[in-house]
């Protein structure tokens, strides 16, 4: 705040700026954000960064340890797997695949979930409460179980597992949106718009939706971490991405075979998943507490 102010004017920062300021105060969350940006860059620029083709098999160099081990080489920084594929390249491609697909899935699920949730939240009466309660109790079924059932119907494979996870994520978004819309509809500003003659459509798009952005971003980050976990879990269970595809979960699954002699085969892809989820969770937490302290301070 400037010490000397000639005019009695002040420019209070916008809510978004305040949120960013609060977010910046939380150093751990900022580190998480940098990590997240790193993964985004990795996902976008992956093919340019990876030293080898992830599927290329170097027959003469099987199971080379990573370069920090005494017997490791500099050619394959993260070592190679049982078929002589370069693990660094596979991890980079794996991040690209797991991360990129998860973002796609979350966006899709968000779109569907918000649309259905808005309808559920805006509607009244016996039918809506019927559907809502049913949805609530079905929500209790864990996403992974839903995904497994859907895969049992559709068959295994990456695309099918994508559908399965999208469908499994949708109920959460419906639930959140519905609750949010329910709460907002009761508030005065919506009532004021309603009294001005706004239709339900206008109410939702002009009054409620603009206020929902932050909630959606926060929920989206958490859904993203769930999506990454689930997609790699399905890959790991050999229900999702199939063998040669460089997907982190599938790589872990293949790594088990050589786990004892080449532990880096499971340590490195797992660490990549772990780092991804940690950074997403840190950013999500940071956002949440920034929003909370914004409300607290104003």
């Amino acid at each position: 705040m400037p010490q000397f102010n000639l005019y009695q004017e002040e420019f209070p920062p916008s809510p978004l700026q305040v949120t960013w300021q609060e977010f910046k105060l939380n150093h751990i969350a900022v580190i998480g954000l940098y990590c997240l940006i790193f993964f985004v860059v990795l996902a976008v620029l992956g093919p340019f960064l990876a030293p080898f083709d992830p599927l290329q098999q170097h027959i003469d160099s099987l199971l080379i340890p990573p370069s920090w081990e005494p017997s490791g080489g500099i050619v394959h920084l993260f070592g190679t797997d049982g078929l002589g594929r370069d693990i660094l390249s596979r991890v980079i491609y794996g991040c690209r695949m797991t991360f990129g697909i998860s973002i796609l899935l979350v966006l899709l699920a968000l779109l569907i979930g918000v649309a259905l949730g808005a309808v559920a939240g805006m509607s009244r009466g016996l039918r809506s409460s019927f559907v809502n309660h049913l949805l609530d109790s079905l929500m209790a079924i864990p996403t992974l179980l839903i995904a497994i059932i859907i895969i049992a119907i559709l068959g295994t494979g990456l695309v099918n597992s994508m559908w399965a996870i999208t469908l499994a994520l949708v109920p959460k978004f419906i639930h959140q949106t519905r609750d949010f819309v329910r709460n907002e509809v009761r508030k005065e500003y919506v009532m004021a718009a309603k009294l001005d003659g706004a239709s339900k459509r206008q109410l939702f798009f002009n009054s409620i939706l603009p206020n929902m952005g932050e909630m959606l971003v926060v929920q989206g980050t958490f859904a993203l971490s769930i999506a990454i976990l689930d997609i790699s879990a399905l890959g790991f269970l050999n229900l999702g991405a199939q063998a040669p595809t460089p997907e982190l979960g599938a790589m872990l699954y293949k790594g088990i075979e050589v786990a004892y002699i080449a532990p880096w085969n499971i340590a490195l892809p797992g660490a990549a998943i772990f780092l991804m989820i940690v950074s997403i969770n840190l950013v999500g937490d940071g956002l949440r507490s920034a929003l909370r302290s914004r409300l607290l301070h104003s």
Binding site: M1, E10, V18
Partner: protein, 331 residues
């Protein structure tokens, strides 16, 4: 003898971009057996003073005072547990929001019994004294005008009405037989009959049991008839304090005058259909309070000197902080 004596209490709170003086050199003296009114607009820092007295402010806020004593003992330097002990035995607080200041998961009876100090339970050591506690509790409830004590004690906060809840709070305040009851705007948001009951109850408590009451409110009308002394607060600064009758008759500070004038019933000479007097402008936000006398920009009598903080001056028991007090030019 004064019970509570506060001199130059300053409280700084941290907001985004720096420290702000929420209270700026506040003086307050409460004498034994008297009703003292603390009056100010909302946002003038009344509730913060109450919190500062009972020590319920966050650790990170800076609090300084030249003097803040309870019957000669310094409240600021003593340890938290000592202070709690004093508050437990001598001071009781009735809060602004009775519903919010009671535990929603415990019955009202449990909370009242918890507050009864064990010195009042005079039973042999092998008895728990539960019966006696129940009796004291019922007695307290009768005293504040709750007839059906059993039902009340068995219910939870959300099951009883707001004004009953406030009476209950007063009963809880009386439980420890305090020397001072701090009533922090106890009648907020109540309709007029409930309000009158609460006010009568407090002034009866004061008369019968010789308990001092620090009555915090913005409602001059309600307290002018019952209070002995009054302190007026504006924006975290004490503006004027003194005997109620004196203040009403001859207010020295422009703000006190404006406050009194704003209530039509205080003005007998008000002609029909004439506009009500009020100060221009609004109370400034804490982020940008004016320097010097904080009333400055709104004061009809402000002059150049008002950018300096006025020292409190005194005529007998009447304190005021103004460079150019009313009635002064004539004398």
């Amino acid at each position: 003898m004064s019970l509570l004596d506060i001199k130059n209490l300053t409280l700084e709170i941290d907001v985004r971009g720096g420290w702000i003086k929420a209270l700026d050199k506040v003086n307050l003296v409460v004498n034994e057996g008297q009703i003292h009114a603390l009056v100010g607009e909302s946002g003038s820092g009344k509730s913060i003073i109450v919190k500062a007295i009972v020590g319920a402010i966050p650790d990170r806020w800076r609090i300084t005072a030249d003097r803040m004593t309870w019957r000669g003992q310094d409240l600021l330097t003593m340890s938290v547990s000592e202070r709690r002990k004093i508050i437990r035995s001598d001071i009781a607080v009735v809060f602004q929001n009775p519903m919010g200041s009671l535990d929603p998961t415990a019955t009202l009876g449990d909370q009242l019994i918890e507050i009864i100090p064990s010195k009042r339970i005079d039973v042999p050591w092998y008895k728990s004294g539960k019966k006696l506690r129940m009796k004291i509790a019922a007695d307290l409830l009768h005293r504040v005008g709750i007839k059906d004590h059993e039902q009340c004690m068995n219910s939870y906060v959300h099951q009883i009405a707001n004004d009953v809840c406030q009476k209950y709070m007063i009963a809880m305040a009386l439980a420890s037989e305090p020397k001072l009851i701090i009533a922090d705007d106890p009648t907020r948001g109540m309709e007029i009959t409930a309000k009158t009951q609460i006010l009568k109850l407090l002034s009866r408590v004061n008369q019968v049991r010789e308990v001092a009451v620090l009555f915090v409110s913005h409602d001059l009308l309600a307290i002018s008839s019952m209070a002995h002394n009054m302190t007026v607060l504006y924006c975290g600064q004490t503006v004027e304090s003194g005997r109620m009758s004196q203040l009403r008759k001859r207010a020295l500070h422009p703000y006190t005058k404006a406050l009194l004038d704003s209530a039509p019933s205080f003005r007998k000479d008000l002609p029909a259909k004439s506009p009500l007097a009020s100060l221009g402008g609004t109370i400034p936000t804490l982020q940008n309070v004016p320097i010097g006398c904080r009333l400055g920009p709104r004061c009809p009598r402000a002059r150049k000197e008002c950018v300096k903080n006025p020292e409190p001056r005194r005529i007998h028991e009447h304190y005021y902080s103004c460079h150019f007090p009313l009635h002064w030019d004539k004398e």
